[in-house]
Symmetry: C2
Subunit: 336 residues, 2 copies
């Protein structure tokens, strides 16, 4: 492949001059600019990112770590990040942590090997212990997406998760449900914990108790949520409504209801947190607390690039987005 040296020879100028043209880093006469550009075209020169980043110490690579790229929710995040990066002359690099701290660590190492200039991280845990583990694995500007991690001093872009849980519960309470359960995710993960907290608070404020057996642990996975929901639905008395902590959880709950021959919403109301692109074509069409995924993704990458480009490196207040209830057909008044 042609190198900057070939371009320089072809244009009859010094290597450093070509570099100056390429980076607009020093004044160059129009004549030379033209010759260099002609030489670039003629040689088919493509800059060598590795050489560039080795010498300059800056990589123009952005790492994105999501729980699972195959989950449409996170795929959407990846798409937004990709778009912003491409426009800004950065290259993004997406990897899945699989919600597993060990794999997360492996992925972070890879990101370090690649010397990414910045990181957007959806963490696998949010407790202080995990924060302590993460802190010496991360040595670049980072924005946390979806939740805070205790002990990590990075900017956070998230939605108001407690509000989401509250909204879901209040909707069901408003419909007259008294026996409301929830399928949560992984304890120690703020998205799950906060949503559960809001849920519990809403129940308490309305004088409702939540039986322990009505809380199931679904691990953000469809099949696990399905199993957990079935267990909850075997409880006596059986809850008449269930809140699902995430999109995959919602699918699991819906399948569990079907497994048990329960009609939604007649026998069981379900409200999910996080919306589905295909909601209109689902059966039932899920009532959902939706979160502005794209806006959040965009906010996080834009904030990150600001920091990386030194436009505004000072840590800022967390960006917190408001969730919104979307009522569809998976909820109704409880059976008489």
């Amino acid at each position: 492949m042609a190198t900057i040296k070939d371009v320089a020879r072809q244009a009859g100028v010094a290597i450093s001059t070509v570099s100056a043209v390429l980076n607009r880093s020093a004044p160059v006469s129009q004549d030379v600019i033209d010759r260099v550009q002609a030489a670039i075209a003629k040689t088919g020169y493509t800059p060598h990112a590795a050489a560039r980043s080795l010498r300059s110490g800056r990589s123009r690579l952005i790492g994105l770590v999501v729980p699972n790229i195959a989950n449409p929710h996170f795929a959407m995040v990846a798409r937004e990040v990709e778009n912003v990066c491409l426009r800004a002359g950065y290259t993004s690099m997406v990897y899945s942590s699989g919600q597993d701290p060990r794999r997360e660590s492996q992925v972070l190492t890879m990101m370090r090997v690649q010397r990414v200039a910045g990181l957007i991280l959806i963490p696998t845990r949010s407790d202080a212990g995990h924060g302590a583990a993460l802190i010496d694995q991360i040595n670049v500007p980072t924005v946390l997406l979806d939740m805070q991690v205790e002990g990590l001093p990075f900017d956070v872009v998230k939605s108001d998760n407690a509000a989401a849980g509250r909204l879901a519960a209040e909707h069901l309470i408003g419909l007259g449900h008294k026996h409301i359960g929830m399928i949560v995710g992984i304890p120690g993960l703020a998205t799950s914990d906060d949503r559960q907290l809001g849920f519990t608070q809403a129940l308490a404020q309305n004088g409702l108790a939540c039986d322990r057996s009505w809380i199931g642990r679904g691990e953000f996975d469809m099949e696990q949520a399905r199993t957990a929901a079935k267990k909850v639905l075997y409880a006596a008395p059986r809850p008449t409504a269930l809140v699902a902590v995430s999109n995959m959880t919602t699918l699991g709950v819906l399948l569990a209801a079907r497994d048990l021959g329960l009609a939604v919403p007649r026998d069981l109301s379900v409200v999910g947190i996080d919306d589905f692109e295909m909601a209109a074509l689902m059966d039932p069409q899920p009532t959902v607390v939706s979160t502005p995924v794209r806006e959040m993704a965009r906010a996080s990458i834009e904030r990150l690039l600001d920091i990386v480009d030194k436009k505004n490196a000072a840590p800022q207040a967390n960006r917190i987005f408001e969730p919104a209830l979307i009522v569809r057909s998976s909820t109704s008044r409880p059976p008489a």
Copy 2:
């Protein structure tokens, strides 16, 4: 950050010896190995991918270009590729072409700048003209996924698209439909063309004509497919069944039917090509010709790594996977 130099100093050996330990590229005594490893642990050394790839001329980066990472179908592909790469010590880099040749070209340039060691490409067009344009943009081992491109000498991993179209049509014919239309994608794109070809052949073999007004162009996009399908469904006589060329197209068709107040499958049967993970929770549950996405993705990355690692660089016969019909509730006999 610690460099190999720091490790060498700490271990009291030469830089080249550390390198030999790191890469097992020369015999080193056990004593030295131990000292080097201790030094690595102590200094927290992380290799510098850019320096490594600059010097060695090999990057251990794999590029993946898909139409749209936000489409769950392609997100699944990305996930498989990611997994295989991680296990093999490679790093993958996913980008979306947006089905737009200009953006595809931009993405390919980026991949060249990054000096990827190999490429998995789902092309935006498959005609000879596009092949000619691509050939001088690609200078690394490449595997084409989903379809061939005329004039490109690369290995191909795809499904039997004509068979998919045939399967879809034959299912509808078997149910007794006489008026069958199809919403296709972009002409000049083999996935679409071949599926349409199989579809047309099946009709012809069964003595059925396909009115031109029953073919709509949906561009692999939900909204465009919706519009195209509505137009087709305004035709007189209106088709009693529609085949949709892709997953997004199927969604568009289903929405179009709903827009026009047509019940599926009572008033209109629909069979899609490519399955949905959430099929069980859809209304109607789509009858579909499914394609082994994950297996294809895995086959393509494994083949690519074989080539890149020089294990087997000779071009091989295309890998062609067989599609399968999955009958659900979006198809039935035509209205009397």
